[in-house]
Amino acid sequence: MNRTVERHRNILDFALSSLLRRKGKNLSLWVVYTIVVFLIAAIVFYTHALKREAALVLQGAPDMVVQKMVAGRQDLVPVAYAGKIAALRGVSSVRPRCWGYYFDPISGANYTLVASESPSPAPGAVDIGSGVARVLRVGRGDLLPIRSSSGAPMLLTVRKVLPCVSELVAADLIVMSEGDLRDLFRIPRDLATDLAVTVANSDELATLAVKISQRFPDSRPILKSEILRTYDSIFDWRGGMMVVVLAVAVLSFVIFAWDKATGLSAEERKEIGILKSVGWETGDVLLLKFWEGAVISLSAFLCGVVLAYFQVFFLSASLFEPALKGWAVLYPRFRLVPEVDPYQLVVLFFLTVVPYTIATIVPSWRAATVDPDAAMRS
């Protein structure tokens, strides 16, 4: 047992000395390797944590949203639909929602305006998301000018700023009373943006959706499960632009590493002959090559993953935030809750460490089976 450990340590010693001989080359290989692992791991961590966060936070979203479509575009839905849908068996409540988007020409940002029923801000007052407060540099008690659809500015008083811990859902919100919102966008009293439907039994959702689209052919029901699935597919890591861009980098690294690992120079071949002649077995030589590959790939993997974790969960992925979130004026600021899928880590391990190590061993295989007397005849 002790001898086996000692043998591994001795050969590891030699593998390290051997790697240190080509310090510049191996170090740059290690750095590139680490960066590749870091980037992939960071994307995997980020998207996984975000998907999970979306699933948890959006648990309380309406079970179904019913929109009205006119000529393939979403249109305002008659409030009268609400009563008819509420009468369907299995529906527990239908609430008309009034909300919309507002492009602020001064700051150049898009805000989401939402009418709240309970607790509704008083007419003339608003609650704003902390992102809005940051971009417009307004706080509690300040006046917020909004240009209404008639062109006349509307002055609203900020009642409070929503807590910044919930920026992930509320950064761009301007919450106002329903009356103010209708005045602002000139939405008639008998129309609403869409209808939020709650059902008693979520198993019946799909049946209800079919029923609603039959009863109201101009409507479009959207289920909560579809919303959550949308988030899954948005941040599916294969779908990300980063990954597409990265694919090229990863591929070129694979070619580079493959070339480096497999290309056995005459020098290395000769060295293997020397080792064989001084009494190394084929297995010893392969063990040496295993350690040479494992030292680089294992340390690069560990460093890359640790750096990625740090970057995503402690620095909030500040490095590639713009690429992942777009170039908006208003960025939500949030810290992701650490959430790592061990399965993904294992997959990453097997995609990085194992192929590289094997690519180092395999080409040495033939060189390692040379007869020990070859070195003597050269």
Binding site: L58, A61, I234, V305, G326
Partner: protein, 98 residues
């Protein structure tokens, strides 16, 4: 010190750091849970349906709620201007309809 000892120590330190990180992610949840329940409360009260991740265009703030055509409103083959437009494709379920 032997080179192998240095390597083993560095690797072990890295592995331990990684496990600490993973454990930290598992157990340090108090603050996060509070933030999460505050967000969930806003979602419930205002009946929100989406996260506020991209705000550069109206169809990126509510990807699940925008109409099917809005990302392509200029032309169906128009290249997307915003990077998040490349991430947010119209969800697949829209194609068949509910």
């Amino acid at each position: 010190m032997r080179k192998s000892t240095v390597f083993v120590l560095v690797t072990a330190a890295n592995a331990i750091l990684l496990s600490i990180f993973l454990l930290h992610g598992k157990y340090d949840r108090g603050e996060a849970a509070a933030a999460r329940s505050a967000s969930a409360e806003i979602v419930r009260k205002l009946r929100l349906t989406d996260l506020c991740l991209f705000t550069e265009a109206r169809y990126t703030r509510h990807p699940s709620m925008t109409d099917f055509q809005s990302p392509f409103q200029d032309h169906p083959l128009a290249l997307e201007h915003f990077p998040s437009g490349a991430l947010v494709t119209p969800p697949g379920f829209r194609r068949e309809g509910p």
